[in-house]
């Protein structure tokens, strides 16, 4: 959990920072997307790095889901008779939404790939014209898409908040208060960074 989650978080962070290139205009953003396809060149062929990375990510996602499932199964087996009276669990909201939050994030990732990677769900949907795709995606009349993205990113934020804290704990580092601060700060930065682009498009930046 901790290791695969950590690797995924590294990717997500790089993704968030990369997104911010949107604010430098179409040319630079599209150029950045094209550059991503040339990483490792000339040693690696066009897009090879990207595919290596995608394989690694997929592997992490599968392992992450696998371990999560085995933990959920063990938990279920460990309490065959449930409590009649059970108040809302007292731990943090983030901790108790890890499982369903994870499912939501996974579904969102599928949609997101079809939308902005494959392009079939995107109203513009042109490969290489990343900036235009994004602008078309979050256009004001498609507010429901923006809303869905925003909700998914917030769910991801909660997932990361507990996940990061928990990963440190599982790897044997555990000053609770510092960890809480670091994890919350990180999650908030991530959410704000990811929301910046859709919100900017919604209010008309970049069009």
């Amino acid at each position: 959990m901790a290791v695969t989650g950590g690797l995924l978080l590294l990717f997500v962070t790089a993704h968030m920072v990369g997104n911010l290139k949107f604010f430098f205009g179409a040319e630079e953003f599209d150029g950045y997307a094209a550059w991503l396809r040339t990483i490792g060149a000339p040693a690696l062929h066009h897009e090879w790095f990207l595919w290596i990375q995608r394989t690694g990510l997929l592997l992490c996602v599968l392992l992450h889901i696998g371990t999560a499932t085995s933990l959920a199964v063990r938990a279920r087996r460990a309490r065959p008779v449930r409590y009649r009276h059970r108040p809302a669990v007292q731990g943090s909201y983030a901790a108790r939404t890890m499982r369903w939050g994870g499912v939501i994030v996974a579904l969102f990732v599928v949609y997101h790939l079809l939308d902005l990677t494959v392009g079939v769900l995107n109203p513009h949907g042109e490969h290489g014209e990343v900036h235009a795709n994004v602008v078309a995606d979050f256009a004001p009349e498609r507010w429901y898409v923006t809303l869905f993205y925003a909700l998914a990113v917030i769910v991801l934020g909660f997932h990361v908040q507990h996940g990061l804290r928990s990963a440190f704990q599982s790897l044997g580092r555990g000053d609770a208060r510092t960890l809480d601060l670091v994890a919350t700060g990180y999650a908030v930065a991530l959410v704000v960074g990811f929301l910046a682009v859709p919100v900017a498009v919604l209010v008309g930046v970049g069009s």
Binding site: R77, H85, G91, S170
Partner: protein, 247 residues
């Protein structure tokens, strides 16, 4: 004062069990929760009914025998307090109070509110001890222990093995208990010889017994009557990874 109790009644391990409602009046707010059950049991006995079975021993918060889930919270609403140290003044007059046993597969119900916690003994047998020469006790100052280590070890040693952490955990994990033992012994010089094998064997036994896996939700610390902190589990993980690396 008066309380409406809904109590888990189960004749034996094979019985399905059910919640039974009892109206109990003429109670004093100064009574402890267990005294209230004593009063109810006396009244039941007078009526010729079977008294409610529940665990208890010291009634001063140190033995770890008492074990009731009160309104869904192990050891009831008061923080860092065992069931036996809980008083009725923490409840409102006329309140409905649900009482259930610890719920976990490795803690099967024996009768009513009594569960079998020998699974904890198995975890201790797997490594919760030190090798020490027998004979006369050594001088207390023969082996120096740094004060911060002694303090942390003592904090972990406060665990009374009650099992509330398991009862509270949404995963049914006993990691807080296991971690308390690993921390307590692993911080002291006497605990060093078995430090690696202890953590590996205790965790393996914990898993074999059917306790769930820890996902760091922190429910255990909230329920723990001794306030064993969550970072105790981080220490266990640290020792576990180190021991794994050496093997």
């Amino acid at each position: 004062m008066k309380l409406t109790l809904r109590v888990w009644r189960q004749k034996g391990p094979e019985d399905k069990g059910r919640m039974v409602t009892y109206e109990v009046d003429d109670l004093s707010p100064d009574m402890s929760f267990l005294e209230m059950l004593d009063v109810l049991n006396e009244r039941l006995a007078l009526k010729g009914e079977e008294p409610i079975a529940f665990d208890h021993d010291c009634r001063e918060g140190i033995c770890g025998m008492c074990s009731l889930v009160i309104n869904g919270t192990p050891h009831g609403p008061e923080r860092a307090t065992t069931t036996c140290q809980l008083h009725l003044r923490k409840f409102k007059d006329g309140e409905v109070v649900d009482i259930e046993p610890w719920r976990a597969r490795p803690f099967p119900v024996i009768k009513d509110l009594v569960v079998d916690r020998s699974a904890f003994d198995k975890i201790i047998e797997a490594g919760g001890y030190i090798s020490a020469p027998t004979g006369s006790a050594p001088d207390a100052h023969a082996v120096p222990v740094p004060k911060p280590d002694a303090d942390r070890a003592f904090e972990a040693a406060e665990c009374i093995g009650c099992g509330a952490c398991v009862a509270a955990c949404p995963n049914g994990s006993a990691m807080l208990f296991t971690a308390a033992k690993v921390t307590h012994l692993g911080l002291l010089p006497q605990g060093q010889p078995e430090r690696d094998s202890r953590v590996v064997d205790m965790v393996a036994t914990h898993d074999d017994l059917g306790f769930g896996g820890c996902t760091n939700t922190g429910e255990c610390t909230v329920a723990c009557p001794k306030g064993i902190p969550l970072d105790t589990i981080a220490r266990l993980n640290h020792d576990y990874l180190k021991a794994g690396g050496k093997r």
